[in-house]
Amino acid sequence: MATSGDMSHWDWNIGKKVIADLHQWRKSFEWLEEPYVSPDGETIAAVVRTKDGMFSVCVNGDLWETRSDKIWSLRFSPDNRPAAFVSNQGLWTIAVGGRPWLNTYEFVWDLHFGEGGGPVIVAAVNKGRYVAVSDGVPWSQGYSFMTGLVVSDDGGHSAAVVQSAAFNPGDIFAFQKGCYTVAVDGRPWDRSFVNVWEMSFNPDGTRLAAEVRTTLYDYTIAVDGRPWDRSFSSVWQPKFNPADGSVTAPVKVKGGWTLARDGEVFWDQRFCQLLHHYHSPDGSAVAAIVAPEFARWSVAVNGLLWPKTFNHLITDLTFSPDGKHVACAARKDGRWTIAVDGLCWDLAFDMAWTPVFSPDSCHVAAKVEKAGRFFILVDGRPLKLEFAGAWNPVFSPDGCKLMIRGIGGSEKELSYCRYVFDMSGLPV
């Protein structure tokens, strides 16, 4: 999760701020898309159509100066700038904070941000050449095909799967020789693969690991272009251990799925499935979403299973900053809840979002939804607030306060409000 480095400068004074009256927005615009809110909660924005039939973005009630034929993918950067893809006369670019980049493209998509004020990176195509563009600067080399753009945490590096060799439509044998590779900052790896899929940068963006298939049947992980010696019948997304730089990935071996590290099987256990794994921020622990048996889902931390299993699914696994706790969203018998360290919160919802740990790892908060109303849970209890729309809660850097961003609040009107509560004074 990209976070802003500057959270301490945000307004952490306890209280409620009414940022915008969306009811008013609704009256002003015949066309109002779903709003987005800045990480600091101070800004709300939405794509709107103005009376001239053009599109713009309304930010806290003010419109961007530029008008466009079309706008999509409005999102806030970690440093609270609204950005969106905008098009005029069939040409596309991205506008950040209302200002479009000078370069235009036939198409732009796949918006990425570097952490805390880092660059904005997008995928773009011109005349059949695909590139990634970072703050307006495209890769020096374009490709005939590109997919799966990823960027490093700070946004300093970008990589995508690209086509390295041309083949005619239907030439299955050329395809099987390997026509895909990874371009990192525009430069391709010197080795091609039959396929390359999910990729991960290491924390400083200097290394890249990817799922690859070297034949139709041999799956492995390639790190900086070099595949592991051993291949597997399947693999999922690799990750770097932030502490020692080793690369880990779920792999399928005889008997089931397990975790491999640097090409060797790392965990003794075999699972029916091992979908995603995550390293703790300090690299001391690794947790994974696993199915110990068919149709039962649980979390394995360093290979040890939570005793609790869920029959539907587990998603949104997250480590506490100190690496000692793990939380996730889980669905059982059709209802969602939050589970922390194997213990389930005794509440059921229609949807649950990624749980958020406090910086001191002592508290967990989460956004949930039931029957179209949104609620914030803290440590297993719902706050006495109910929203028509809400965003994930945010802890202050010292962990003493909690910011909540929501539309509607307890009132009937459609106001977007930003609340800051002291952790000892939560409305429970």
Partner: protein, 219 residues
């Protein structure tokens, strides 16, 4: 004669029943173990309700569309299987043998009915043989073992009928009957005859998949 009889009536009968029962248990257990190991999913989709729904539909004559499309085959098949099970258990001579050996008894069929049923089994075997010879799609599928099995099924009925009628040479036929019957029993777990074991298993599993997962009928 007495030595052969004593063996066939005694140890061989015991062996035949043991091979049959243990063989069936072994087949079921090994199938179960294999399923646990490599087809674990099938257990997760098993639904008793839908399994029974399907099994019952396929145990009731003419309840499935394909049975109605082949009325003669359906009729013959049901009569055949019914008689195939009923005669060995409910023929008076057999019932008395069970009574003598294990002191358990049940109602038995009048011999005249049993005779007719025996003829029905033999007739059905002939019918099946005819299908295997004259129906192209069945002939195409037929293997030597299919014909041998048909023969193995018919023989105890044929010889039993002969012995029952006390036609010339019936003492030998009686022994042929006993031996062929015991062989047939032992063959069940190890030949295609084990379809009798797997019928409820497959039908139950497919019934569960069709009913619970695919929300459709399978008959």
């Amino acid at each position: 004669m007495h030595a052969v009889f004593n063996f066939v009536r005694g140890p061989m009968a015991g062996i035949a029943f043991a091979v049959f029962i243990i063989g069936c248990l072994y087949q079921m257990a090994s199938m179960w173990r294999l399923a646990r190991k490599k087809d674990a999913v099938v257990f997760h989709y098993f639904s008793l309700f839908y399994a029974l729904r399907s099994i019952i539909h396929w145990m009731v004559p003419f309840a499935a569309l394909n049975m109605r499309r082949h009325p003669v085959m359906t009729g013959v098949t049901f009569v055949f299987h019914l008689c195939l099970f009923a005669v060995p258990f409910f023929l008076s001579s057999h019932a008395i043998l069970f009574k003598e050996s294990w002191d358990v008894s049940w109602a038995w069929l009048p011999d005249g009915i049993a005779d007719i049923m025996t003829l029905a089994v033999m007739g059905a075997c002939l019918f099946f043989l005819g299908r295997r010879i004259f129906l192209r799609e069945v002939r195409y599928l037929t293997t030597v073992s299919d014909v041998l099995i048909l023969f193995c099924v018919a023989l105890p009925f044929f010889s039993g009928f002969w012995a029952g009628q006390q036609w010339p040479g019936f003492p030998v036929m009686t022994l042929v009957h006993m031996i062929s019957g015991e062989i047939l029993l032992m063959l069940i777990p190890f030949t295609r005859l084990r379809h009798m074991l797997f019928f409820p298993v497959i039908r139950g599993y497919m019934g569960s998949e069709f009913g619970a997962v695919r929300r459709a009928r399978d008959w």
